[in-house]
Structure formats: C-alpha cells, structure tokens
Symmetry: C2
Subunit: 664 residues, 2 copies
C-alpha cells in the first residue's frame, strides 16, 4: 500500500483550485515559494527529525536542541540564506531554542533601544553569534506589571558604573528563554536609580557568563527554572532564573536611545519619542496573530484529515462505517475552527498593513493613529491566541482517543502553544486595555471627536443602537452588510451599556474595576467585529482561481454565524436581531457546513504543510494512519525489552506472593 | 519564615465553620475520617513522593510506578486495610498504574459477567494478585462503537476451544491500560462465531504472558503504544497494543453469565437479564462524576490560593500591589469553577443514591427507571468531565506564567484528566444518547406517558413554554424557584424546538443526523438543569455548622447565574426571561462574587487536600510560594552541571566562529 493516497477521493471532491488557494493562504507567490522551499529543505534533513522528541529525557532533549540550533546556523551560513530565509528555516525546525530569543528579542531590543553607537558595538557581535543574548524582564514576583519590577540599577558616579542588584527573592529574573544555560549576555530590565532618585524601568546590557569557559561571572547566580507543560514542547528551552549580587557594568551599557544617564549621574530624556516603544509592541503582537493562524491551521489540518480517515458507527450490518467528518456534530465543532484559521490569517495580513502604516506615521512624528492601532493589536492578540489554544485542544478531542497519543502531534502542539495566552500581555489584561480605549472613545463622542480606524463604527452609535436586522430568510444572512451591521450593533451596544453603567460610579476607576468582567466582554465583541470586517474586506479584493473566492465566502459566513450563535444572548439583548433571526442564522450555518464538507480536505491542503512540519501520524498527507500508528508505537523506550525494567524487583514478588520479604 | 501561614489573614476572614464544610464536602463524617487518615498516611511515606515525577524519562517513570504499586500493595497487606481503605490508598498515591485496571476493570468484569463457577475460579487469584489483569476492548480502528470490533473468537467444537484472532491491523487491541508490559491476563472482547454464525461481542479471559518468565505466550504480540500527553501523567501507565494469531483458549473462559456456548457449539442466552450491563455503566459513570468534582476542586484549590498570594498592579507608588483574587475578572473566571466543583460534588452524591435505587430495582426485575437513569448518568458524565477539563486549563491560566511550570501541578493535572472526556463514552456521543432519550420522552407526551425522574418537568411542557419569569430586582434571582423554572423552561423549549424540527424530516434518522448539533445543545441544557436542581435540593436538607448553608446558597447562585449568563441566548430565545432580567441576573452574579471573595480560601480548605496530594507549589496550604518555587527550580536535571551537556559540541563552536569545521 506504500504510496497510495487514501485521501485521493476527498481531494477529487474539491470544487476549487487548491494551488491558487495556497497562494492566498501564504499571502503572495513569493511567500509561498519561500515557505515551500525552506520547509522541504528542513523536512529532508535527518538532523531535524522530530519523531523521537517526546521520548527524550530533559537533558537529552536539551542537547538535541543545541545540536539542531548549531546545524541550523551552519546550514544558514553554508547556503548563505537571507535574513528572511534564515527566519523561515528556524521556524520550520519547529523546536523552541535559545536562538529564538537571541534573534527575536535580544537583537531587536538593542536595535530598538540602543543608540547608534551602541548598535555599532553590539549588533555585529550578535549577528555573528559571537555573543548570545536573551531578554530578562519578568521576575519571580512580577509578570504583567513592568512598573512593579524590583531589580535595581544604581548609578555609581565614582566609578561611572551601574550596580545591578536583586534586592529580594521575588526580584529574581524568572522565565527568560535562553537564560538558564546558554546566553552569554542579557538585556536586563531594572529600576534606574541615580543620585538617590528613581527614574523608572530601563534596559541594560549585562554579560552573564565567561566567554572562555561559560561559567557565570562573579555576583551572578543563574540556572534553569525546571520542567514545563508537555513531554517536549518548551522543555527544549532553558527558561532561566537569574540573581544579581551587586554586579557592576559600565555606564554605556544602559540602552540610551530614549533616555540617558550622564557622566555626572543626571537623568535626561532624549529627543526620540517614547511612543516608538508602542510601535514595537504593535510589531510583536501582529506576529503573534499570524502565528495563531499557523498553530490553529496545523491542528485543524490534523483533525480534518483524520476525521476523513476515521470511521465510527453508522453501519448496522458489519459493513463499512461512516466517516467521522460526515457527522454534523463533528462539522459543527471542526469547521468553525477551520474558518477561524483563515479569518486569523487575513486579519494578520491586515495587521501587517497597519504596522507599516503606523511605522510610516511614526517616522514623521504622527502619533494620531497609535492609540487605536495599539488597542487593536492588543485585542487581536488576545482574541486569536485564546481561540487558538482552545481550538488546538478541541482538535485533539475531535481525534478521539488517538489524539491523546504524542504521535498525533496534538498534545505537543497544545503544550507549546499554551504560553501565547500569557506572554506579551496576559489575554485578560489586554482585553481591559481594549475596553479602556473603547470607553474613552465612547466618552469623547459628544465632544465631537470622530473615532477612527477600527472604532470608526462608534461614530454612528445612535444609528447602531436603533439598528434592527431585516433578515427574513436564512440565506439573507449571507449578505455581507447584514453580517457587518449585526456585529457593529452588538459591539456598539455592549460598549454603550458599559459606559452607562460606569457613569453611575462617582470614582470611574472603582467602576472600571467593578465592571471589568462586562468590559472584557465588550472588548471581545469589538475584536470579533474587527476580524469579521477584515474577512469581509478581503472578499472585496480580486481573488483569482476557480472557486477560491466562493470557498472563502463560505468560510467567512461560517466564522461570523458561528460567533453569532455562540454569543446569541448579546445580539438579542442589543435588540439588533430577533430570536427568529437567530434561529435562521443557525439554519444557514448548518447549510454552510454542508458546503464546506466536500472541500474540507483541500482547504487544509492549502496550508501546504509538510508531514515533517505537521509532525502528526493522524494528519499525514496520504491518510495512511493506522499502519503508521502501529509502527510508531514500537519506538517507545518501554518496548526496548520484552520484560520491563523493574518487573523482577516490583511485580514478580507480587505474583509469587513473596512481597512480604521483598526490599522495595 | 518557616512555619508561617501566609494565608492566615484570608482564613480569618471566613464567616463559616470550615470543619463542618469539610464533612459536607466529604459526604459524611466517616468519609472525611477515612480520606483524612489515608491521605496523611500516603503523604508521609517517602516512597510515594511525587515532586520528581515529571523529570523522569519514560523508563524511569515506569519503574518508579511499579515500585509505588508494589509498596502500596505491601502497605495494604501489612496494615490489613479494608477494600475501601485500599482503594483510597491507591487513589491518594495519585499515579496511574496497572493496578487501576486490575482492580477497576478486570475484577469487576469477571464479577459482572462471569458465572458463579468462573468467579470462584478466577477471583481468588485476582484478589491475591497471583494473576494481574486488564480490560481489552478498544481496537486501533474502533473506539466508541463496540459493535464495530473486529477481533474474532471462533468456537472449535473439535477441541472445545475458542480461537481468538486479529484478522486485520485495525483489529489490534489498542489503549488498554496495564496491557503493554505488565498484565498476565486480559478480559478480551471479541466477535463470537460458532457454527459459522456471528453472535455479537462477548468477553473472554485470555492469558497473555507466562507466569514463569513473563514472556508473551505463543501467538500473542504485545507492547506499549507509546508516549502520551504530558510529562508524567499517563506515561506511568503501559497502555498497550495486542494482536492474536489464532490463540486457543478453553471454552470455559468465555464469560458466560449472560449467554453461553454449549459443548456442541450452540449459542444460548441465560435467564440473567442483559439490562444488568446498564447498571454497570451507571456505576462507572457516577464514579467519573465524583472524580470530576475532585479533579476540578484540586485545580480550583491551587488557583484560589495562588490568586490570594499573587499580587499584580494596583499600586502607583511602588507600594504593595493588589492581590490578584481581588480583581473582578479573576473572580468572574475563578468563582464559577469553585461553584462548579461543589455542584458536581452534590450531583455525584445524588448519583450514588440513584445507583443504589437502580440496583435495588434490578434485583426485582424492575427495569422501569433504567433508561432514564442511564441517560442521566451518561449526560452528567459528559457535562462534568468537559467542564472539568476546561476548568483545569482555565485554572492554569488564572495562575499566569507560573501555571505553566510543572511545579504548579496544573499541567500534569490537565494532561492526566483530559482522557476523561473520551473514555467510557465520548462526550459528544453521550450527549446524543441523552438527546435521543429526550426526543423519545417528548414524542410520547401526547400518548399520556408520564415522564419520570429527571425528565419529569417535561410533563409540564405546555406550562413551561408559556413561562415568563417575574424577576423585577436583581435579588429576585436568589429565589430557588425562580432559578429552577428558568432552567426548566429553557431546557423544555430547546427539546421541543428540536422535536418540531425533527418532525419536518420524513426519515427521523436523517433528521437526527442533520440536527445533531442542536440536539447536543438541548442535552446540555437538560443536564445543567439536573445539576442546578440537585444543588437546590441539597439546600433543602438540614446542613449544620455556622454559615455553612449560607455559603452553599451563594455558590449555588453563582453556578446557576453563571450558566444563565453563558447561555443567555437560549433563555432569551425561549422567551422565559427578558434581556432586562438577564442583565439583572448578571448584576446579582457580580454581587455574589463579592460574597464569595472573603470565604474563598476557606471554601477550598474545605476540600482537605494534603500538600502531597495537591502536588503544587502554587497551591501550598501555607501560601509560601516564592521561596519554594525557587527551591524547586534547582532540582531540574539541567541544573546538575553549570555548563550543560552539549555546550562544547554545539554552542562553543558558534561562539568561537568555528562552526564550519565542527562535526554536528
């Protein structure tokens, strides 16, 4: 049966051009070619094999990760890969490593916050990896609240140095990836003190380990913080703990682009606008949104393919059973996730545009769109990562018992994705930031401040509060404007309801605290509106390829109507739709599921993932699941011997009724 | 600071009698004493330590599990523990092991399906563990659908034997715990064939391994199926694969309580009613509901205590930050889970009564309540396990970044709990069974069949469809009857709406398939009604102890109003409440959260979990979290050496720019 495509029938059913959809998913022909080429390069290199990853102990796994990182760096240099190609290569290696932090946080921190002089000194070393760096911000007792950090950097004018110190146990740096065992340097965030006065939190370049023998420098205590969720997952990363006992660094290792400490110890702000920091946050979070679409699409690809392979029930006479994907409960759980993957992809694409726009404006000191852009990326980061984490776990359950095996790839995908809900802003903290922006926007409506960007709809708040949908038949829900208006009316109603409740409090901050659960719901509604509206906008574009746009229209409908069904109470409370219209929406949703069904396999093929990247026996391209599951099983370390280690000491005495005398 | 209780202030705030609540939670004074005594016994025994569990490789972990199982059995015998005490001891050891299947599935299968003669032969061997057994039902290609199993047991009248055979790859037994490396025997489920005719699936006792040297017997291929979700979790269990190549067993090893094959190969049913099998399913599933309340309460205990220890934001001047538990978003996520833990506990208690009732009726051949009891336990298994799995992961997120560390205990708790959503009936398959029962009940209403038990409310369906809540103020929602009627009206409306839509189909089975997503929602509404009504019934009882009943009333309100808020769309669509009343319910919910807040720590103390059983640095009874997190970190294998294994081969060459020549 080698070489047989068990999903060929499914692929033949599709009524759209899969190759064109691949381009749409990738974003461009260039992006497709790049991913396609690099992913195959990684997949065919035996050093990058992943199938044994979850069976390795912590130390073996870590060593294996170091090997892959070195091999990746070697290949990058040998093949003279561009920065873009090198990034893709590390991406497809698909194993968290210290290099992620070096390239993704350490280098950008110096680029973003270092002066030209500092960049000239440090970047060449980092680019050649003569030093390896990490990003040491969070502390044992302090996560989300950067202003609560306790580590101090006290200027000593006598020696022209900063003294970096950890005054308490809770001030220990905790979590930074790459810190535990590998990094030679770190950008350390600390509370700046000069002339006995505090000046907030700033970044400092600190060498941690000797470049000769890799031992920690005097005054530095550093180590790994221990095992984390999953068998492999982030256990390939040396998340670290770091304590400073009065460690001295030269004054010029404070990152001084935004503010400086002079030779005399005077703290001064530079002329560079601090708002640029928000530009960086927009950048990081828009990347996270794109990553969400990738992680979710991987899980959906696995669950969709296996749902077409797997059969259960439906036969009374021992005949062939029904494909699981034909069950409506399976479709009602799986297809909204498929639609979400596409929706997140397109909103990520739009965020790329937004980031470019913000950056261009920042260059000419135009900060007018920054607050809105910041709130919007924060909210989308929260929405998409929460939905993706939940969605991966749902995909695991959709694979039945076998989804629980590591060879399904799904447990690891979940464990490695889960932190996205917490890092770069806890998802609930972020929702409240969005809510603050919404409340501010609503409160300024009367003063004639016209809301812009994704909050523009709030300019029509009066109209929206009066809006009543005119849907009469199920198919009316396919009308883009019908969907859009319903989502706008619901979001506007929730924001206004919160604003009205807030106004009852004499102290607005007390009100914000008391109502924060409701405010988070208003923020979610706002963010869902953004995703729906950007999907609808995407459909306004010219999209070539037979049937491609039609498929996307179906998926857009699934995404929006699924959300409407899930949050029906809000739409009904807003009064923008009636229970009867809600029921018609559900009817239409069922009909859309039937349209997705024949195209489901082709829609996940469009992600163009190699079997290596997918890392799942259940999600194999050829659908040849059962023989491979069987084959994988025998690789487990427990199968190295017939009689397992420990049997003679601990089981034999039980069976032989000799336990009383056994030494355990 | 050793010995200081960092949560003492929190404990002093409670305005109810915690000791009395412990009895309520345990179910009785006897149950409390038993758990308290055995859990301490386990906690103080160094062999049962758990803190290193997630750092062990697969083989070490497995060996450690064998050691614990042997030690547990030794202690059980030395202390002459009763069956109840022995069960508790294995429970508090808290590490999945082959013994779970031996005692929990193998022994009960023989007791339930073996004849008196078979029981006399096999049970003494099993009780003394002279043989160790497992339960081999599911196959590589067949999970939920038992009738789809492919393994055959063909009677050979020439030798008076059954020939057990695996005709295909997908017929390989797959998943049975204890099978992979340890069990000497199994109850194997296979398709019975005699005289060339099939007679459905039956159980057979099959010896798998030699009692001398533990090697697999001729014709048997057996091994472990590989690593599963999590670092430790179920990787301590040897879930196995098993193939038969025409393995012969004597005829008297077919479990013959319900049907027999005679010496001549004739298949005959015994007079024992087959409905007894459903009694067993009720038993297993009611146990799962109780286990759900335990797993959820563990996670809630950890998240609640750490939310009181952890501080973030809320201070502008570097002063002490706000306890995370004081944030309303934290409360709105955490307290419904706390309430759910109690709710599931009480519905589990009621299921115990139901099981006793069903058993007594079965003994006098009264099957009248069986269908309803079966549907009800199936639905509650589905509802409580889904909510618990999601709830554990939510608790992990509620602990912020540190929840991702294995030392928090939460990743392992999730990974070990997740299978409960799939085993003993996939949760969606079960919901559809409930829906079938509901549709049957509704369809028989006209013919005067009075619905009983948990479906009794459907007898008043006309009234319920007309029901309009008379809530006018937020506190009206505290009225038990107001809550109950709203939940009844919503559940009735959903069932009737499904029944009406079903009636539009000419083929009812087509309709059931097409509407199955809606039917699952109706089933959920029905099950939530059961939980709410059983909580309300519990509050009708006399509950001693200062403030105990009041606390439970608050939690009952939280549970019900949280569900109402989450499913608002259904309540509004049913017309039983108005948007205004929905908003008042939300207002009341906020006020209940404030009442839970000062009692939160005491409410989780009432679970009476030892720090050993909880297995979480974040959930420590004394709240001394940060020093212990710091201490735990250093135990990681990566911290055994300053310079990690692999550094010299794979990192040094990068730093020294000598990668080109390195052998990787």
């Amino acid at each position: 049966m080698e070489g047989v495509d068990h999903l060929a029938d499914e692929r033949n059913k599709a009524d759209f051009d899969v190759e064109q959809m691949k381009i749409v998913w990738a974003g461009s022909r260039h992006a497709f070619d790049l991913s396609d080429r690099i992913s195959r390069l990684v997949a065919t290199d035996p050093v990058f094999r992943k199938d044994d990853r979850t069976m390795l102990g912590r130390k073996e796994l870590f060593k294996n990760t170091l090997r892959k990182a070195a091999h990746a760096w070697k290949r990058i240099n040998e093949l003279r890969l561009t920065e873009e190609e090198a990034y893709k290569l590390r991406f497809f290696v698909d194993q968290p490593a210290f290099t992620d932090l070096h390239w993704g946080m350490f280098v950008p921190a110096i680029k973003g916050s270092g002066t030209d002089e500092q960049q000239q000194k440090w970047l060449p070393l980092a680019y050649k990896m003569q030093i390896i760096g990490c990003y040491a911000q969070t502390e044992l007792g302090h996560g989300s609240n950067v202003q609560g950090l306790e580590t101090t950097a006290t200027f000593d004018p006598k020696t022209d140095e900063f003294v970096i110190h950890s005054p308490t146990l809770t001030s220990s740096k905790w979590w930074p990836g790459g810190l535990g065992k590998i990094s030679t340097h770190a950008v350390v965030y600390a509370r700046l003190i000069t002339n006995g006065k505090e000046h907030g939190v700033h970044g400092f370049i600190v060498q941690l380990r000797s470049l000769d023998d890799h031992s920690p420098l005097p005054g530095i205590t550093v180590g790994d913080i221990g095992m984390k969720f999953g068998s492999g997952a982030y256990n390939s990363m040396d998340n670290g703990v770091l304590r400073f006992d009065n460690v001295r660094i030269p004054r010029n290792q404070m990152l001084m682009r935004f503010s400086q400490v002079t030779r005399e110890g005077k703290f001064v702000h530079s002329s560079v606008p601090r708002q640029l920091v928000y530009g960086t946050m927009v950048y990081v979070r828009k990347t996270i949104v794109t990553d969400a679409s990738i992680a979710l699409s991987r899980a959906v690809c696995i669950a969709t393919r296996y749902s077409a392979v797997r059969r259960q029930f439906g036969s009374q006479n021992g005949g062939i059973e029904t494909q699981v994907i034909d069950y409506k409960t399976q479709q009602a759980r799986l297809f909204p996730l498929l639609a979400s993957a596409y929706a997140f992809r397109f909103v990520g694409e739009w965020l790329n545009w937004l980031y470019t726009d913000v950056t261009q404006r920042l260059q000419v000191n135009d900060f007018s769109t920054l607050a809105e852009a910041h709130a919007c990326t924060a909210g989308l980061k929260s929405l998409t990562t929460s939905a993706t984490a939940d969605g991966i776990e749902e995909c695991r359950k959709l694979c039945g018992g076998h989804g629980y095996l590591n060879s399904s790839g799904l447990p690891e995908l979940f464990a490695v994705y889960a932190p996205a809900c917490t890092y770069e802003g806890d998802n609930y903290v972020l929702l409240l930031q969005v809510a603050r922006h919404l409340m501010k926007t609503v409160s300024q409506l009367d003063s004639g401040n016209k809301p812009t960007g994704t909050t523009a709809y709030l300019g029509q708040v009066e109209k929206l509060l009066q809006y009543r949908s005119d849907v009469q038949r199920a198919e009316d829900w396919l009308e883009p404007n019908v969907l859009l208006k319903a989502f706008e009316a619901r979001a506007a109603w929730l924001s206004v309801a919160c604003a009205q409740n807030l106004s009852k409090f004499t102290n607005p901050e007390d009100g914000f605290q008391a109502l924060s659960a409701d405010l988070a719901e208003a923020a979610v509604a706002h963010c869902q509106l953004i995703v729906v509206s950007k999907f609808l906008e995407k459909l306004q574009q010219d999209i070539p390829g037979k049937g491609v746009k039609q498929q996307l229209q179906v998926l857009c409908g699934v995404y929006a109507l699924f959300l409407l069904h899930m949050h029906l109470g809000e739409f009904l409370s807003a009064g923008c739709i009636t229970p009867k219209q809600g029921s018609l929406a559900n009817e239409q949703l069922r009909s859309l599921y039937s349209q997705v069904r024949p195209n489901a396999i082709a829609l996940v093929d469009a992600f163009n993932y190699t079997d290596h990247y997918l890392g799942s026996v259940l999600g194999r391209y050829d659908g040849n699941v059962y023989p491979k599951l069987y084959e994988e099983a025998w690789k487990d370390p427990l199968n190295e011997s017939i009689v397992p280690d420990g049997f003679h000491e601990y089981v034999q005495p039980i069976l032989k009724q000799q336990l009383r005398n056994a030494r355990l």
